[in-house]
């Protein structure tokens, strides 16, 4: 310490990186979450094709004969013993689209908060005013996130009706655990967004609060990216 005569620092010294602590912490947290989802996804992939009994993700299954078919319904399978492939790619594509759109809304929410108070930054007219509303985009993000959760609830119930529960086989256990963990993350994110919305309603979020929205956006986009990995590895790849 060469300088022993530095003036007493009132207030906080600046951070080393110039970034807020919370920004560093959320990145460390996301790094940790990567390992969490890596463990879940790896387990799903390791167990893929190792279930002793159906129903299966992509194949038809006849319970009576334990026969499977990747192409279509199995002939001469007794009524009530035939199980469809479980995964419904068209429906999940829709929910994936909903979740991806929520990321877009999240970007717009952050932009609206960061630029609040700058007149006309989003262009003229009602379109510009729409873009400037942080409340609208926070709400839109939360609603799209909740919409994804509704799709997931629908998906889970219909799978249970089609004969797949978390107890049925390895596919059921690893599928419901993996997607359930992701759904829990989305739920936490929706609650986070609604909290931000409540703060925005109460006192208004401005450029000084941009960090609050920024870190929630990082989390939200991360959860979104994880879904892209899950959708690709679980649903699309046979």
């Amino acid at each position: 310490m060469s300088s022993t005569t530095a003036a007493i620092h009132a207030g906080h010294p600046p951070t080393t990186t110039g970034l807020d602590h919370r920004k560093i912490a959320i990145w460390a947290f996301i790094g940790s979450e990567c390992m969490l989802f890596a463990s879940l996804i790896s387990t799903y992939l390791i167990y893929k094709g190792r279930s002793r009994t159906g129903p299966f993700p992509h194949e038809w299954w006849c319970q009576a004969t334990n026969a499977t078919s990747a192409t279509g319904p199995i002939a001469n399978c007794p009524a009530g013993a035939l199980y469809k492939p479980i995964l419904n790619i068209p429906v999940t594509s829709q929910s994936t689209f909903v979740l991806l759109m929520s990321s877009l809304a999240m970007v717009l929410a952050l932009a609206a908060v960061e630029n609040k108070g700058k007149k006309g930054w989003a262009g003229p007219g009602w379109g510009g005013r729409l873009m400037e509303s942080s409340k609208l985009w926070l709400l839109a993000t939360a609603i799209l996130g909740a919409g994804f959760l509704c799709y997931q609830a629908f998906e889970f119930t219909s799978f249970v009706h089609e004969g797949l529960t978390i107890k049925t086989n390895l596919f059921g256990s690893s599928f419901f655990t993996l997607t359930g963990f992701h759904g829990a993350h989305v739920t936490a994110g929706v609650l986070w967004l609604l909290t931000l919305l409540a703060i925005d309603m109460k006192r208004g979020l401005g450029p000084r609060d941009a960090l609050l929205v920024d870190i929630s956006a990082l989390y939200w986009h991360f959860v979104d990216v994880v879904w892209i990995a899950i959708f690709t590895l679980v649903y699309l790849i046979r």
């Binding site: 560093i24 940790s32 969490l36 086989n169």
Partner: protein
């Protein structure tokens, strides 16, 4: 700093708020949290030691009749779990808390309340884990909890439930602390404290946090699968359903091997602080010490399957994991040599801290070499599940981690309390513990090579194991004596020890530039750092060791330090909310036990109640600003 040379005794400009139970429950001061970690982990050290002592009493003679087989399983499981999760990790956390802010010139950690939360989760989690003793079903599946032994089919009672839920709770504590310390080190370094100027302990602590945040999620998931299997009837570890028993082993050791480095790197860091001070030489090869620490951590993620050679993974996997394991010996060996070169030609002072530190260097090498022996799959097949392995990991964890941590306690006790530990008692502590550790664990190499398996509660005479087991058990007597003397020293010296002053050892790093114990704001002036050893730059490096200690005496009139308010330093407000969040989270996990008892509705109700309470306290915490407006 101008005050360093005179190092006066002082009193805190204290107020009512600074003492009393409430102040401890609401504290967010990293130094007090460090003291809480220290006290709690030393308490569990006694409990874990008691468990080990009963194990050794049972095995002292052939056909021991002290405890039943079931009790023996519980004892070795809880001994391992306690020593790893309730002793070595939190004792390291005590030093992270105390030292990281002081060594980088910060006034607290990045998230003071999160820090308090970590401690309370650790405390409640440790209590939850040990409540199992009182309901008569302590965990009994080994600290590694291998499936299918731990699945419902083979373990019908609550033992494993306590274990998996307890570990889950403790994981939250470590993860929260990990994010906190990473942020602190990245973002709160004083001006001029570049990464390559950071004290080596902070470096090792930094690397350890990365291991924690990357390794703990994996065991979290492994434990989630186990919980789902036991509570909800999923099939992750059900062999009849096609489940793979090796899934648990892989997930567990992907966590478990980095965990080994989580246990040892902080001790390496402490020793790297102690050796230069008492050799009066800078650490030899500082950058190489940093890089070798990183390399150990990096390679530590690529060696997990060397715990699994006996399961038959095939020659390719065995070879790869054998080679990566042997590779770790290189950075570790580099560290050992650098410590020796640090001492080489130095002015050595054999304080108790130095004795413990040198012992780590010497005895860890023994454990390291037997580790390289296991790295060879053919040799490992002979050694797996024998006492040779027990000898190995006790040489790295007791003769390594614990020696290093004791070195840290003797070295940093003055910073915690303002007083020195008694060196004469310290010497007794050291020598008895040293003899005890070697007498206990060295013979285990032989009983292991003679074929004595681990985890057996009883053995017949006439297999050549009697002498070694007797020696091991006698060794425990020496360890107990040493530890009792040491703990008496820790207890007594906090009031009656010699007053330490700022820097009793003539040490080079920032933490020794401020009073002991430090004022709540640590640094009145944020220091400006220009080298790795700032205090040695100010003092002449060839001065007599610790000149200021001679002039110190408790009778010297205390000087009042200015308060944070007088200095205009904003301080975080105390808060009880982290304690509540931690408490409700622990209760929420604990409620899941009811599922096992087929009280599913009760469990659901309790979980909802505690989750609501948890959320409410969490919102209360997050919506209350850390500091008053200024």
């Amino acid at each position: 700093m101008a005050t360093t040379a005179t190092a006066p005794a002082y009193t805190h400009a204290g107020s009512e708020a600074e003492s009393g139970l409430w102040s401890w429950l609401t504290t967010v001061d990293h130094k007090r949290i460090a003291a809480l970690y220290l006290g709690t982990s030393l308490f569990w050290f006694l409990v874990g030691g008691l468990e080990a002592s009963i194990i050794r009493l049972q095995l002292m003679f052939p056909n021991g009749r002290v405890v039943s087989a079931e009790m023996f399983n519980e004892l070795f499981t809880m001994h391992g779990t306690t020593m790893i999760f309730l002793v070595v990790m939190p004792l390291s956390a005590a030093f992270f808390n105390l030292l990281i802010p002081l060594q980088i010139g910060a006034r607290d950690v990045a998230f003071p309340r999160l820090n308090a939360f970590s401690y309370w989760v650790y405390l409640f989690g440790s209590i939850f884990l040990n409540v199992s003793w009182f309901v008569g079903s302590a965990p009994d599946g080994g600290w590694f909890g291998y499936t299918p032994l731990t699945t419902l089919a083979y373990s019908k009672n609550l033992n494993i439930d306590f274990w998996m839920l307890g570990l889950q709770i403790l994981g939250v504590s470590s993860l929260a602390a990990g994010f906190n310390f990473i942020t602190t080190i990245v973002n709160m370094r004083a001006p001029g404290m570049y990464f390559m100027r950071m004290p080596i302990f902070t470096w090792m602590a930094f690397i350890t946090q990365f291991l924690i945040v990357l390794a703990f999620p994996v065991i979290t998931i492994a434990l989630v699968f186990l919980q789902f299997d036991r509570f909800f009837g999923t099939n992750f570890y059900e062999i009849a359903q096609g489940g793979d028993p090796l899934l648990w082993q892989h997930l567990f050791w992907i966590f478990g091997h980095p965990e080994v480095y989580i246990l040892i790197l902080p001790a390496f860091g402490l020793v790297s602080e102690v050796l230069p001070t008492f050799s009066r030489k800078p650490l030899f090869g500082y950058p190489v010490m940093v890089y070798s620490g990183m390399l150990i951590a990096f390679l530590g993620f690529g060696v997990w399957a060397h715990h699994m050679f006996a399961v038959g993974m095939g020659p390719i996997a065995d070879t790869v994991f054998g080679v990566t394991t042997m590779l770790i010996a290189i950075p570790t060996g580099v560290k050992i040599f650098n410590w020796i070169f640090t001492m080489w030609g130095g002015v050595l002072r054999f304080t108790t801290a130095m004795k413990f530190a040198i012992t780590l260097v010497a005895l860890f090498t023994i454990g390291g070499i037997s580790g390289v022996m296991h790295a060879s799959p053919p040799a490992d097949l002979q050694q797996t599940d024998t006492y040779f392995v027990v000898a190995h990991f006790h040489y790295v964890l007791v003769a390594g981690s614990m020696m290093g941590l004791f070195a840290g306690v003797y070295y940093y006790y003055p910073k915690f309390t303002g007083r020195l530990l008694d060196e004469r008692l310290g010497s007794w502590h050291f020598w008895l513990f040293f003899i005890g550790v070697n007498l206990t664990f060295f013979p285990m190499h032989f009983s292991g090579l003679y074929g004595m398996p681990r985890r057996i509660y009883r053995y017949d005479a006439g297999q050549g194991w009697e002498t070694f087991n007797l020696l091991s058990s006698i060794g425990v007597g020496f360890q107990i004596l040493g530890v009792v003397i040491g703990f008496w020293n820790f207890w007594r010296s906090r009031k009656s020890g010699e007053v330490a002053g700022n820097d009793p050892w003539g040490a080079p790093t920032l933490e020794w530039s401020i009073p002991s114990p430090p004022p709540d704001y640590n640094f009145a002036h944020v220091p400006r750092v220009t080298s790795r050893y700032p205090l040695w730059d100010v003092k002449t490096p060839h001065a007599e060791p610790a000149p200021q200690r001679a002039s110190m005496s408790p009778r010297e009139s205390p000087r009042r330090l200015p308060t944070a308010k007088e200095l205009g330093i904003p301080m975080p407000n105390p808060s009880i909310k982290p304690l509540f969040v931690a408490l409700f989270m622990t209760l929420m996990f604990a409620s899941l036990i009811a599922i096992h008892k087929d009280r599913v509705q009760l469990a659901v109700v309790l979980v909802i109640v505690f989750a609501t309470a948890l959320t409410a306290s969490l919102y209360g915490w997050l919506l209350t600003p850390l500091e008053d407006e200024h």
